[in-house]
Amino acid sequence: MKADRPKHIGARVQRFEDTRLLSGSARYIDDIRLPDMLHLSFVRADTAHANIVEIDTSALADLEYATWVFTGKDTAGLSMKAHQDYPEMQYSEQPLLAEGKVRFVGEPVAVVLAEDAYRAEDAAELVFVDYETLPVIGTMAQARDSSLPSLFDGWASNVIVQRQMKGGDLEAAKAAAAHVIKRTYSTQRQAGVPMECRGVVASYDHADRVLTVWSSTQMPHLVRTYISEELDLPESRIRVVAPDVGGGFGVKGQVFGDEVLVAWLAMKTGRPVKWIEDRREHLIASIHARDHQHTLEAYVSADGRLLGLKADITVDNGAYSTFPFTSAGEPGMVGKVLPGPYDFQAYEATFRAVATNKCAIGTYRGVARPSAVFSQERLMDDIAKELGMDPFDFRLKNIIRQFPYKNVLGFSYDEGSYAQSLEQMQALLAEDVTEAAASRSSSTKRVGVGIACFIEQTAHGTPDFTRRRVPIETGYIAARVEMSPDGEVTIDLGLQNHGQGLETTMAQVAADALGVNPENVYVRHGDTLTTPYSVGTWGSRGGALGGGAVHLASLKLAAKLKTIAAHLLQAKPDEIELANGNAYVRDAVQRFIPIRKLARAALRNVDQLPEGMQPGLEAEQRQDGPKDGTYSNAVHAAVVEIDIPTGKMKLRRFVVVEDCGTILNPLVVDGQVRGGVVQGIGSAMFEHFIYDAECQPLTTSFADYLMPLAPEIPNIEVHHIETPTPLTPLGAKGLGEGGAIGPAAAIANAVANALDVGVSCTPLNTNAIWKLSQHLRGAA
C-alpha cells in the first residue's frame, strides 16, 4: 500500500491573501499611523529647466501652527546616484532636494512638515521659489543636437550613453540580401500607474539608533542598503517594511530619493514623518517608461529568410538616472532583445539614452520589451507584406526550432514552443482571418487581425547583471523555511507581494515538499526584519526563483524530518515519505507518525532525536537565476473592427498562447497574463504622457492620462503550452511581465491589416485611427 500524495503545485488554489484584501482589513502605506507623526508636503518645480534664484519661506513664520521647512541647502550632498560603470556613460546625480537648478516639472525643491496633512499642504503653497528659466531640451532631436547646452555641468552633450552590440557578419548579410527593408517605429511615454500611489513613513529611535522605514516598494532590502550608504547608518539598525502594496508594475521597483529623504527627516526632527504621494505627483514625478524610437533595417533573402538586422535605438530618458537600473538599462535592453525568436546570425544595434527636461524613465512591466517587440513585430509584418508573404508563414519560416539555441549575441535560449504556439494561434484565428479579408470590400467597416510573436528573458541570474555593470548587481531570491513545534510552517521570503499571489503559490510549493497542506504554511515577506536579504519582486523571477528557493529549502527541511521519522519508526530515511501531515514508511503506510510530532521532537522533546542531531527545524536557500535566464515565449493576437466613417476602433478579440514552463497555480498565471495584456492594451490604444514644447506636462490627472476601462476591453482568451525548463528547480519560467509585452505589436499589426497601411507608432487612439484611415474615406 502506498501513501496518496496530493499535489498542490499546479492546482487552482484560491488565494489566501484575498480575505484581508476583500474585507478592507489590508494595511497599505497610508494605514501606517504613528504617535506624534509629522506630515510632509513637497514644494515641486513648476518650470522644467531653471536656476533657483531664491527660496523664500518667510511666510511660514506667520502661520498659527508649527511647520518645519527644509531645502536643498539642508540636504546638500545627499542624492540619488545611479551610474553604470561604462566609460562612455556621463555621470549625473539627483539631489534629494534641488540644489541650484531644477531639471523637470515636479522635481522636489523643498519640503514642509506639519502636524496635519492638510496644513502641510497649505504651508507648502506659501513657499515662494524665484526661478530664472533656461531653455529646455524637449525632444530627442534637441537632445542629440550638440550645439545646444547640456543639462549637467561637465557633460559633453545630452547623450547620456551610447553603446553598441553586434554579432555575425552584417556586411555579408546585406550583400546577400534580395530585399532591404528599413522602417522607423516609436512608442510613446507612459507608465505603470498602480492604483495606490507611493508613500513613505519613517521613525527613528535615537537611543538605540534604529531607523524604521515603511515604504510602498517592491524592493525593501535595496531600499535598506541605499539608505544605509547614503545616511551612513549600519544596515543592521535599519528596518524597511513594505506593507500591503497596491500595485507596483515596476514603478515601485526602484529606490526613490523620497525614501531616503523621509528617513533623513525622521532622524533630523526626532519625530515620525509621513509622506503620501498624491495622484498628480505620481503622474509627473515618480517615474515614466518607454518613449523609444527605433530605426530598423532588415536584410532578407529572395525566398523570405531573415539574414541580418541593423538597429538604431534612442530612448528619451528625461533628466535623471534611476536606481538601480539606470538610464543605460532601457536602451540596452532593446539592443539585447531585438533578435527575438528568429533564427539569424548577423546583427548590429547602436543604442543611446538622451537627456531631456522630463521625468526620468524607469522600469514598467516588460521593461523596454513592449517597445522592442512593437518594432520587431511591426517589422516582421512589413517584411512579409513587401515579400507578398502571409505573416504566419514568414514567421514560421524564420522561427527558431532547435534548442538550446545560441543567438547572434551569444545568449543561450532554453527549450520553448515557438513554432507550436504560432501554429496553434494560426488555427485559433482562421475564421477571423477570413472575415478580415472579406471586409476589404467594405467602405464602412474593416476587420483586421494582427499577431505578435515574442520571447522574454526571465529570471536572469547574477552574471547577466555583472555583464551589464548595473547597480542591481545580483538577482538571487532567498527563502527561509521553518517549522514550529506544532508542525506549522513559516516561510520568510525575500520577495514582496503586490498582487502576484505568492502568499498562496509559495505555500503550495512548500506543502508539496513537506507533505503538509498549503493552509498550514504562512508566508511572510516585505519586511527586512524577518526576511533574508534579496533583491525583491521584479524581472519575472518570483515563481521561477522564489518558488525554486522555497522548494529547495523545503526539501532540506523534509530531509531532516525524514531522518527523525526513520529513527522513531525504525526505518531508513530513504524509505520515508511525507504526505497528508504524516511521515509514512513507503509500502507500509500503517507505520506512520504525524509530522507535528516530529516537529515537537525536533524542538521540544529533543531527547527523542537521533544521537548527535542538533535540535531545530529550519532551512535556507538562495536561488540565483541561470546565466542567460530562462526564456518564456508567447504569441498574442488582436482582432479589431474599425468604423471607417468615425475612426472608432473596437477591440473584438484578444488571444494569448503562452508558455511559462511549469505552472504553479493556473488561477494566478491566468490573472497575471490577463492583467498584463490589458496594461499592454492601454499602451497600444490609450496611455500617453504628453509634454508641451516647454516641457510642461499636460497629462496630470486621470482625466488626461487615460487607462483602459472595463467596457473597452474584451474577455482575454488564454491558452497554455507547458515546456518546463531544466534551468530552474521547478521547471518554471517567469511570467509576470509577458502579458504586457505583445499587445502594442499585435494591435498595431491588426490596424495595419484592417486599413492596409503602415503603422509606425502608438498610441492607436481614435485620433490616430482617424488619420490612418483617411485614405478610405476618399476626398469627401
Binding site: 476583500l22 482589513s25 498602480p194 492583467g675
Partner: protein
C-alpha cells in the same frame, strides 16, 4: 469646525470636522476604516466608493460636512472580517482581485447592481456588467475576473443564494 453626526456601518458618532475635510479622510482617520482607499482624489478611479444613504458615492469628492445625518456603509460592513458576502466570495473564486487596492471600491459599486439584477430576475450580459463598472479602474486584473465574479454572484442570487 462643523459638528456632524454620521451613522457609519451601524454605529453613530458625532464629531467636529473642518468644512474642507473629505469624507474619505474622515472615514479613514476618525472611524479607522482602512478599507476606504484613495486612488486619485479627483473622482476618476472609483477606489473610494462607499454607500451614502444606500447609494454608491465617491468619498473623495464628498465633504464630510455634507453628510450630516447620513447613513454610510463601507466594505468592512459587507461580509465581516472574513469577507463572507457572496460577491466577495465570487471575487475570490474568479480571481477578481490581485493587489486589492481598487477592490473595496468595486465591491461597493457592484453590490447594488447585483441586487438590482437579482430583483429583475435576469442575468446581464458581459457588456452590461462591464458598463456597470465603467467608473472604477482596476490596474491588475484586466477586469476579466471581476466580470466573471459579477456573473457568478448574480447567478447565485438568481438561484436564491444571495
Amino acid at each position: 469646525m462643523i459638528d456632524i453626526t454620521l451613522e457609519v456601518n451601524g454605529k453613530t458618532k458625532t464629531l467636529s470636522v473642518e468644512p474642507r475635510h473629505l469624507l474619505a479622510d474622515v472615514l479613514r482617520q476618525e472611524f479607522g476604516l482602512s478599507g476606504v482607499h484613495i486612488g486619485c482624489a479627483h473622482g476618476a478611479c472609483g477606489c473610494c466608493t462607499v454607500h451614502l444613504d444606500e447609494t454608491p458615492r465617491l468619498s473623495c469628492l464628498t465633504f464630510a460636512a455634507q453628510c450630516d445625518g447620513s447613513e454610510i456603509r463601507t466594505v468592512e460592513s459587507i461580509g465581516g472580517p472574513t469577507a463572507e458576502h457572496a460577491l466577495q466570495q465570487a471575487f475570490r473564486s474568479e480571481h477578481g482581485l490581485q493587489c486589492g487596492y481598487c477592490t473595496p471600491g468595486f465591491i461597493m459599486t457592484l453590490m447594488p447592481f447585483i441586487e438590482e439584477m437579482v430583483e429583475q430576475k435576469r442575468l446581464p450580459d458581459d457588456d452590461e456588467i462591464r458598463e456597470a463598472m465603467s467608473g472604477n479602474i482596476c490596474r491588475c486584473t484586466g477586469y476579466h475576473g471581476i466580470v466573471a465574479a459579477v456573473r457568478k454572484a448574480v447567478n447565485l442570487g438568481l438561484g436564491g443564494g444571495i
